[in-house]
Symmetry: C2
Subunit: 249 residues, 2 copies
């Protein structure tokens, strides 16, 4: 059970938002009903971050230090006590002590999926059902740490279904994805066109550039077919196509 | 190997079109690179059929009786000889003798997925890698044959990954989906909002009602969440969102 036993009952988790149930819009769980638990705080500052309200310190006042019981109460209320898959995201959820939440979820028949950039490995990764590692490509402005990513894979071990997801804006990002995928040839790969008009951190109905997003998806499909990289899956952010940048859906 | 051995080398397969590689736009293989083999002919006439050019007899002249070698030659040319998943569709591909094509695919490291309404069972279903059974709901105007569907599941046996996919236009369709899913509780379920502006059988750039399609998707997500049917996955036709009614993508 990894770090679970070291989490004291009084330890809190810093939460940005809990919402759902709705469908997961991305990656390996696309289309699957889920409740999102978005934690606050991140060790990265990606140029095109679409969750700045859960990342930047100036929104820290909106993050709530919640007890496990309070979080679980909200999850049960939203899901009507009916088991589903939780989506643990952020920010970087690996910063928070989530082992006890994963354990609680399993006790009640729920599943737990977590998405992280793979910069911080936690021993409780092995307790997850799904681990999505999403290393940030050059367009993010962040530096890639291959050792940390490999640590995450090792921490997960044979526990969860572990997959790679890459946000792709341009050719350099695409090349990055091919190189990291070669480092970890056993992991399924999901490629996702980037949204260059991410939601502003303050809630608003700011328009997205849908045609630009679709253009990038078309390019990405062509690029992958040109390389005949048939092992990769290419999926857009479904929630963006369906709801634009609206939050909480 | 089921019926494969009974298919003579000279038997032909009636093909409407072979195209790709592109991504699969629907269901369990969504986002996955694939080459489509669409056979000609169907035992159904669904009111909202989006592939009439492969269904109606008046397009029969455009269907080509092809040998296995000719079909395989086209698949290898399109995929550059690099293995991927074939998507066998129609019309109703179960009408055609596809056992030998599936066998050939496996000999070369390819995988074979087939989608059918589940009205005709074939012994070579057990050789597939993926079998998508898509029983037609009331809005199609077709009558549901539960015995035939169960025959299809039995023919597949433990061979392929077998899943249910339902096109949903309205509440009656939704209720139909819940009832059929209860008949086959072990099969994963995919729900897909219908396109009430399907492509006309003659190629054209006829506009689709994107906002209507999105409205139906929104309704379907809400409907499923209201019932807390968390085992179902809800996915739109991605190719319609990305390319409208354009054919061959």
């Amino acid at each position: 059970m990894g770090g679970v036993s070291s989490v004291s009952a009084t330890e809190t988790i810093r939460v940005s938002e809990i919402f759902g149930p709705t469908i997961q819009g991305e990656g390996v769980l696309i289309g699957q009903p889920t409740v999102f638990v978005r934690t606050g705080g991140c060790d990265y500052r990606c140029s095109w971050c679409d969750s700045l309200h859960a990342v930047e310190s100036r929104f820290r006042d909106s993050w709530i230090a919640m007890s496990l019981d309070d979080i679980w109460g909200q999850i049960e209320a939203l899901s009507g006590g009916r088991p589903l898959t939780l989506s643990l995201s952020g920010g970087n959820p690996a910063i928070q002590p989530l082992g006890s939440l994963i354990e609680r979820a399993h006790q009640h028949g729920y599943r737990a999926a977590l998405e992280t950039q793979g910069s911080i490995a936690r021993d409780w990764f092995s307790d997850l059902d799904v681990l999505v590692l999403s290393p940030k490509p050059p367009s993010s402005g962040m530096e890639f740490n291959g050792d940390a990513l490999l640590d995450c894979v090792r921490s997960a071990g044979g526990g969860p279904e572990t997959v790679l997801k890459f946000v792709i804006f341009d050719e350099a990002d695409y090349q990055f994805a091919t190189q990291v995928a070669q480092l970890l040839p056993k992991l399924p790969v999901f490629l996702q066109p980037g949204n260059h008009t991410p939601p502003p951190p303050e809630e608003s109905d700011a328009a997205i550039d849908m045609s630009g997003i679709l253009d990038r998806m078309h390019w990405l499909v062509e690029r992958v077919m040109q390389d005949r990289w048939f092992e990769a899956k290419i999926l857009p952010q479904l929630h963006v196509l369906l709801w634009g940048n609206l939050r909480g859906v």
